[in-house]
Amino acid sequence: MTQHTPLHAAHLRLGGKLVDFAGWDMPLHYGSQVEEHHQVRRDAGMFDVSHMLTIDLEGGGAPDLLRRLLANDIGKLTAPGRALYSCMLNPQGGVIDDLIVYFFRPDFYRLVVNAGTAEKDLGWIEQHAGGVAVKPRRDLAMIAVQGPNARAKTWAALPAAQAASAELKPFQAAMLPALFAPETRNASYMLARTGYTGEDGFELTLPAEHAETAWNALLAAGVKPAGLGARDTLRLEAGMALYGQDMDEHTSPLEAGLGWTVALDAGRDFIGKQALTARPVDKQSLGLLLIDKGVLRAHQKIHTARGEGEITSGTFSPTLNRSIALARLPVGVVVGDTVEVEIRDKRLKAAVVKPPFARNGKILIQDV
């Protein structure tokens, strides 16, 4: 039995092709994944991401808990509303999940975690929580509005949100006044200038019972619905890792292209740190651009002068109009190398490139 988000009926009405994603019945697309992709790169699209779980951490011990649980350093969150991307590691240095943490008060932080790992994450956090209250917010829905016109169209749809969010910089969030009546007991609206597409935009968190009202207001303002298919091609073009594909509990973030999110500075111990520093890094994550014709897919084998590698995420890129991938490659392979990818009975040539491939409507890698 799959779970339904508060927008399930809206997806059906819009002709969404629904598929099981991490136990949730979610829209893959509403007609054409490629058109939805272009809509986000060129204008504004919206995704129902209510399957992701918001977890509030409340109590004076929250900062210490997060300093211990997260590989990135919440010390970087120097003002209320700031957000940070981080991995949460196991003692072996593998990735339990990747998440965004929002800081509002020293006794109030908010996490947003992946749907497929939510229960595992909750268990892990509770195990370490001590006196911190761990509150899964299953009463909330989330809509990601993304694209160059996303902010303007969000404000057109939800004028009451504008004042509190007009000055937000990327990776900043604001709690909003209640947008819709009747006000619910747990009225909680948050607008964050974050996303998973490589475009500007917002992620709107709001009470589940108001999700459809907000969704319809955004539709009326010209924001088109986009499914998880476009979300995947957009994030891959943007060079963003997907949990379960580009990294998992057996992958070090240092080998998954996430070294920039790991704060290894002295003076802070976090779960997994010791294993990370002890383990030699012999793999790296880089991008591939297919030179021959075909489509790169996850798990295809790569032959390089330094040994074998594997594609972790691959697809056809609508923006580049050719196939791209994220790949785990032996250390020593460098940007500019040509490698061979095994696809069925052939070996196709691909160029090693540095992601991202595309962001903010622009192609960011050189043609080969």
């Binding site: 893959l28 054409s32 994944q33 490629v34 298919g229 014709k293 489509v295 897919r297 056809f316």
Partner: protein, 127 residues
């Protein structure tokens, strides 16, 4: 769902049509293109390759996934549709115009073993 009555269909979602020149034209059904989504790459068999019925002989890749195409009947590949290779999205636009390959059938009567439009429409509706 569009299933022209003048075509025969395989359970694996290919269509086949016996032409006046004795060749059998093969493509994928409208139901198949819709299920695959945006098609971005076609890999077609070499002209001259001999195929047995049900043999894997081509690949249709959409943004979402790669899907194998099977020979609906035995024969030799007589032609492939280069225009479709150059514009894979044409299969989404009209799966019955954008054929994939033509077979010189070993025995044109093998077509009788395939599904007619009514039976295929029923199968596709249940899928």
């Amino acid at each position: 769902m569009n299933t022209p009555a003048n075509l025969k269909y395989a359970r694996s979602h290919e269509w086949a049509r016996l032409d006046a020149d004795g060749l059998v034209t093969v493509g994928i059904s409208d139901h198949a293109q819709e299920a695959l989504g945006d098609i971005v790459f076609l890999e077609l068999p070499q002209v001259g390759r001999k195929l047995s019925a049900g043999e894997e002989c081509a690949v249709v890749e959409s943004v979402k996934a790669a899907s194998d195409i099977y020979a609906p009947l035995a024969g030799e590949v007589a032609a492939v549709n280069q225009a479709a290779v150059d514009a894979p999205e044409s299969v989404n636009q009209d799966a019955y115009a954008a054929w994939l390959f033509k077979l010189k059938p070993d025995n044109a009567a093998d077509l009788d073993a395939l599904l007619d439009a009514g039976a295929y429409a029923k199968l596709a509706a249940e899928a």
